[in-house]
Amino acid sequence: MDEELQRIREMKMKEMIKNLRRDRMETVIEVNDESFQEKVIEQSKGVPVVVDFWAQWCMPCMMLGPTLDKLAKDYNEKFVLAKVNMESSRGLAQRYGIMSIPAVKMFKNGKVVDEFVGALPEPQIKDWIDRNLGDS
């Protein structure tokens, strides 16, 4: 009986923590060289993180940005959208071998599972997200 109670208590506790996290989860965040480890690598162990490497000087990035924002909202916490500004995060550009932007990478369990470059049309990005979320 005690064991049963303990199990229920643990389950409730997990659920509470999950809900708490959900309340706090921001679906669109900005990250840089310093916060990348925590906000992308660590966070992607719980929820997929889509990283958008962009810069102000890149017009296709400016086109893609609002589309990704919209999708992050539509998918309602199924993934977190993290934006990395190349102007201030040169370290990450090197680390991930960015040679063309916009570059979008999906992180799961701390690793890149898929990526694309260029301002793809919305239907194509949706397919890409669905394909990658589906695998989890």
Partner: protein, 318 residues
């Protein structure tokens, strides 16, 4: 099949499609704009300096303003990809990745896309050294050897920009000199010590593993570079004209000065047409005329219908 039949469907949402939308909106036509993405190639223009009322505006901002204006007229832009266009029983059926739309008239304003080289390695190494946007990516090639393919103004300006970061820039061009570029730009690239010209040269393939390592030219010569910027102009979408049997000239849809194509009820405007100047202002002008032409045709057809109805009523009175 979903929803009602539109008076007018506009394919494409660059300046031509959006202006057609603005005019159609003011003609109170039941209008739908279908576009893969909102904005068109002008969105990628760093600066537009020849659009009346603006000394200088970002292509992105100009496009946004047009999209807002279309929105205020109550016209929806559906971000869908057109898969199949056909005429069926006097209507046009537009099959997209989402569904099928129907319209009485059609304006094609699908513009142009950057031309691809079409060589091995180009697709595979996209984002790994192959780039079509020097403004976007020049900064990632610091102290590297880089090639720019092409000989137009956009190739030369790309080379100048890349030279600000790269160690060396090869301009690889298939002709023996820069026929198509402004002499003013050529004079500047001539003086740039980082830039080297390779005329009469064509790329055969792009080689590399994780990133671009070298180019192999068609004459067998190899050029070691860490990046390739492809600036060989633009080309129109050829699929839509083919599906509708539209007459084209070098891929561009042939139109008359009312923006009519050879197929009844189908109009075309902007960069996708065989117009002599591919600019925002000309695209807007053509979009406006195309919308008016569609409106006039619809009016004539409606009038015809009313005359018929009158005739029937007349008979009934007798």
């Amino acid at each position: 099949m979903e929803g009602s039949t539109y008076d007018l469907a506009i394919i494409g949402s660059g300046p031509a499609g959006l202006t057609a939308g603005i005019y159609a909106g003011r003609y109170l036509l039941n209008t739908l704009i279908i576009s893969r993405e909102s904005g068109g190639t002008i969105m990628e223009a760093h600066r537009v300096c020849n659009f009346p009322t603006y000394n200088e505006i970002r292509g992105f901002d100009l496009s946004r303003k047009m999209i807002e204006q279309v929105g205020e007229l109550g016209i929806h832009i559906k971000n869908e990809t057109v898969e199949k266009l056909k005429e069926n029983d006097g209507f046009f059926e537009i099959k997209t990745n989402v569904g099928t739309h129907r319209s009485k008239k059609l304006i094609i304003a699908t513009g142009r896309e950057k031309r691809k080289l079409g060589v091995a390695g180009e697709k595979e190494l996209l984002g790994k050294g192959v780039s079509y946007c020097a403004t976007c990516d020049a900064a990632f090639f610091k102290d590297k050897n880089v090639a720019v393919i092409g000989g137009s103004n956009s190739a030369l300006t790309a080379a100048l920009l890349v030279a600000e970061y790269a160690k060396k820039v090869y301009i690889i061009y298939r002709r023996e000199r820069f026929f198509r570029a402004d002499p003013a730009w050529v004079r500047i690239t001539d003086k740039n010590e980082k830039i080297e010209y390779m005329f009469n040269s064509e790329v055969g393939s792009i080689k590399g593993g994780n990133s671009v390592e070298k180019l192999v030219l068609k004459d067998g010569l190899e050029v070691e570079v860490g990046g390739v910027f492809i600036e060989i102009g633009y080309e129109p979408n050829r699929e839509i004209p083919k599906q509708l049997d539209l007459k084209t000239d070098k891929g561009y849809i042939v139109v008359d000065n009312m923006q009519k194509t050879n197929v009844g009820g189908v109009f075309a405007a902007g960069d996708v047409t065989n117009n002599p100047l591919k600019q925002v202002i000309t695209a807007c002008g053509q979009g406006a005329v195309a919308a008016m032409s569609a409106y006039e045709e619809l009016n004539k057809e409606n009038d015809g219908l009313k005359d018929n109805e009158k005739g029937i009523q007349g008979l009934a009175i007798q």
